[in-house]
Symmetry: C2
Subunit: 163 residues, 2 copies
């Protein structure tokens, strides 16, 4: 079980967009440059984030992407599901209905106990991601990033936005 790298990219992009001044947008090309990732693939995930209402695109010469709502109102789960979809990691294929002991579908009125356990774990995972917002991540980065990294990031942002 592995999440796509788009999840990592999407979370980093949402975090960077949360640092922009209100109303300011950043083009996909700049988001790709900052993160050192290929623009065509990133663009696909930005479109997913846009469809999910996490970011919005602004057209025009100073256009690009910006968060669609305040960073404290975007959960990590919003971003993860926008990129990866909302389906549980465990897919029940109802194998209890196969083989020599199979019965007509009408015999299976209750959810399989194995499926139920896996769904509860999935909900625990989502619950944890629902409790954290992009705003929380920004604040945690402010605490954990090295001063040199923060300085370089701010300088890059300033020169990029000044263009």
């Amino acid at each position: 079980v592995r999440l796509s790298e788009g999840v990592e990219w999407g979370l980093h992009c949402a975090t960077l967009l949360a640092l922009l001044p209100p109303g300011v947008a950043m083009p996909a090309s700049k988001l790709a440059e900052y993160h050192g990732v290929p623009e065509p693939y990133l663009a696909k995930h930005l479109q997913g984030l846009s469809r999910a209402g996490v970011v919005e695109s602004v057209s025009g010469p100073r256009g690009g992407y910006r968060l669609a709502r305040p960073a404290d109102e975007i959960t990590v789960l919003d971003v993860v599901e926008a990129v990866d979809g909302g389906e549980p990691a465990f897919r029940c294929t109802e194998i209890r209905r196969r083989g020599p002991t199979a019965l007509p579908d009408s015999a299976y009125t209750r959810r399989c106990g194995i499926h139920a356990v896996m769904l509860r774990a999935d909900e625990a995972w989502r619950g944890e991601l629902r409790q954290q917002t992009v705003g929380d991540i920004v604040r945690s980065l402010a605490r954990t990033a090295s001063p040199a990294a923060a300085e370089k990031g701010v300088a890059w942002l300033a020169s990029t936005l000044a263009r």
Copy 2:
């Protein structure tokens, strides 16, 4: 993000093995027949379960697989990790170290905040699966399976073990 179907198969096999009388083993061919899944693929997962110490193989004419310890001492997580591995679903590729603001590795002394959030969610998922045992699943099936399904399963088991 999707778990392999081997996880579903492994959990169903462990549940069936938990229903066998003490000391009795079931060949991979019968486990495959009962679940209506292809034996070669199932055999691969049974070997994984065996390597992880969840099941053990018994050789000889009445050989096959049996649980390596009581069902109440095998967690759902034991089975899931035996089949799927223990790596977190989110893989951090450290994209913060790429692009125009990258610094030498020595600047990154603390874990990235995004990685930390994703690891906490992964731990919540594993924690939930660690709280449930194969024994719990057997008891939940006893409550949720239809009487007709239970009857047919018991009859199949009896005739298979009598051979």
